[in-house]
Symmetry: C2
Subunit: 429 residues, 2 copies
Amino acid sequence: MVDIATRVHNHNWKIDPIVRSLIDTDFYKLLMCQSIFRNKPETTVAFSLINRSRSVRLGDLIDEGELREQLDHVRSLRLSRGESTWLRGNTFYGKRQMFRPDFMEWFEGLRLPPYHLEKVDGQYELTFEGKWPEVMLWEIPALAVLMELRSRAVLKGMGKFELQVLYARAMARLWEKVERLRGIEGLKIADFGTRRRHSFLWQDWAVQALQEGLGDAFTGTSNCRIAMKRDIEAIGTNAHELPMVYAALADSDAELAQAPYKVLADWHEEHDGNLRIILPDTYGTEGFLQRAPDWLSTWTGIRIDSGDPAQGAETAIRWWKERGEDPTRKLVIFSDGLDVDKIAELHAQFAGRVKVSFGWGTMLTNDFRGLAGDRLAPFSLVCKAVSANGRPTVKLSDNPNKAMGPADEVARYKRVFGVADQVAQDVLV
Amino acid sequence: MVDIATRVHNHNWKIDPIVRSLIDTDFYKLLMCQSIFRNKPETTVAFSLINRSRSVRLGDLIDEGELREQLDHVRSLRLSRGESTWLRGNTFYGKRQMFRPDFMEWFEGLRLPPYHLEKVDGQYELTFEGKWPEVMLWEIPALAVLMELRSRAVLKGMGKFELQVLYARAMARLWEKVERLRGIEGLKIADFGTRRRHSFLWQDWAVQALQEGLGDAFTGTSNCRIAMKRDIEAIGTNAHELPMVYAALADSDAELAQAPYKVLADWHEEHDGNLRIILPDTYGTEGFLQRAPDWLSTWTGIRIDSGDPAQGAETAIRWWKERGEDPTRKLVIFSDGLDVDKIAELHAQFAGRVKVSFGWGTMLTNDFRGLAGDRLAPFSLVCKAVSANGRPTVKLSDNPNKAMGPADEVARYKRVFGVADQVAQDVLV
């Protein structure tokens, strides 16, 4: 039987929205948003889209009208009553009322601020400017919209059958990964793939694959909407934007040197337990840990998001030992460019020496390599804070290919943070 | 939106029928049925199910009640008006009115005759007895029912997600085959997989895969229902049951020796062009061709269905040359145990020397090897004429593992047809 009502309803869609909810975003964005809302509500920032994969000419692939429609749709979104109830009533990381009433009230009234879009040399220049707590919530929807419009552009030319086989292959590939991961004793892994997903539906499918295939080894998803829909844990803590903006706001080199610790001091006041995860690489992991105050070594763990991951973890272990901490009680979260081989290797190397956990991103939610030629292969798109109160931001990272900021400022930051030459690593995804 | 009507309708199904149409059968069954209806309408035959894969214990796997429900459902089927119109109005092999009005009238009134079912030692003994034109139409539905009930029995224990991945893998596997076949210049290939299909829906999917993936290289399907549904060619000519029953009816050794030629003489009167395809192996290809009357060498082609296929084709080529025929104008149809490697190999060996065509069966419609352990792997189930007017039938084939009949009769046939010892080949599917 044809469901005429559904078909007619579908015909009436003006667009097929990519982002249908304000909580179709990473959990850590909300945690950071609340922290910013409390500590730096009046800071003005600009976020910009950066396509590190210049060969993927988004401006040629994606119709500007469609892009505007999708972005306008995101601006029309408001937190729904059910979503608000879920955020207010849920237990996150074992804690009730993670989100405070004043923040929730603000969030319930929020609509995302305007965007600025231009097409330049086959790429989109997409920027967002305004109050930090509002602008920062654009990051994930903007990435999701662009990633999925790119997927749709490629899929548009394919037959119904070709599409079915494409997804069959992607499913079979992902399930093979699940089966390999199943063999790793004591694995803990979460979905961190929202920002690079092939599409919302595909991420949702991938999460279900991990849920059914990995059981307790699957610890949750960074995507709040999917966590809510599938009744699983929302996962995440904090990201580079905090130290980047705090650093940009510093009025002197001395203040700059302290900025990354100020971020974590603010975080320390708000959160405990598994939310106290150090992200040390914004201005070089080695120096950051050497100069860190002692209270930081009591934190639960560390997230390794650039550089050679094994080296990063060894650095952390050495540092904990120097500070008299027991590494076996510490958590190391790997989250940079992971796929099954790397996960298996890192797990074998560190399980038992520390508590190991993985945040699996692009290769979970967007491994379409070779499935339509390479036209659906994931690429390196980010959306970053580029300035704060009119001053440029800087990121050094443990990989010079992930560095950003004006050259003179990068030089200044390198001097202040004592970062020497680094080993470049390909940024694949 | 939930389509309540569809869900309620689905709840009300007494069973989920496997065979839903009398033309969910191979085209050659209908061609042969018409020939029998004309030439041997009063012959009484028995058909029996034979499971050559004894390790697949169908009696343990399949519930007898469910099997009876499915077989009873087949007995309730009648040719629908649309199906009758398609058979009467369609062009088959370039010919209008392939099915004569008297045959169609009979077919429109037909219901399949009773079956006899017993469970013995973990296997089902399923037999059909009665008038040849009626009983012979049981072959394909009986096989389809048993094959699919076996699939369902295995699938019953699987989760929704596991099922999705299973089919995703099977699709990806089939599509890889399609992509390999696409690389073979001048390929002609048809679906011959009805009798061994994993399920009706899967065969229908596989046909669409070939249709979309191979374009003109895909010449059609043996399944009439799918040919009608997908608006493609119905393919097939004749099978072993004709010489087997004709041979069983022979009253002397001299008549027996002539029986296979009598079959083709009757066929010669009814059909021309691409329907004149010799199936030479029932009692040994070599002897059959040596003793064949000259008019047979003028036929369009030959189907190689047992023994070493390359050797069979070489034998045919030699024979045509001896009879003064030009092999490059002859058609060789390979139809035994094919998969892509074998297809590519045979095509490379014979393209240009003869017209080559492939009837691809089990490995097209039932390649689930290794996808649920080996519990869904195809197996060798046949449904054969075992007696005619009370006399046992005999098949020698070009492979002793495919031979059937009582030992004394097999010995007599070997003597009459001058068949010496043969090389045994595994019957995989």
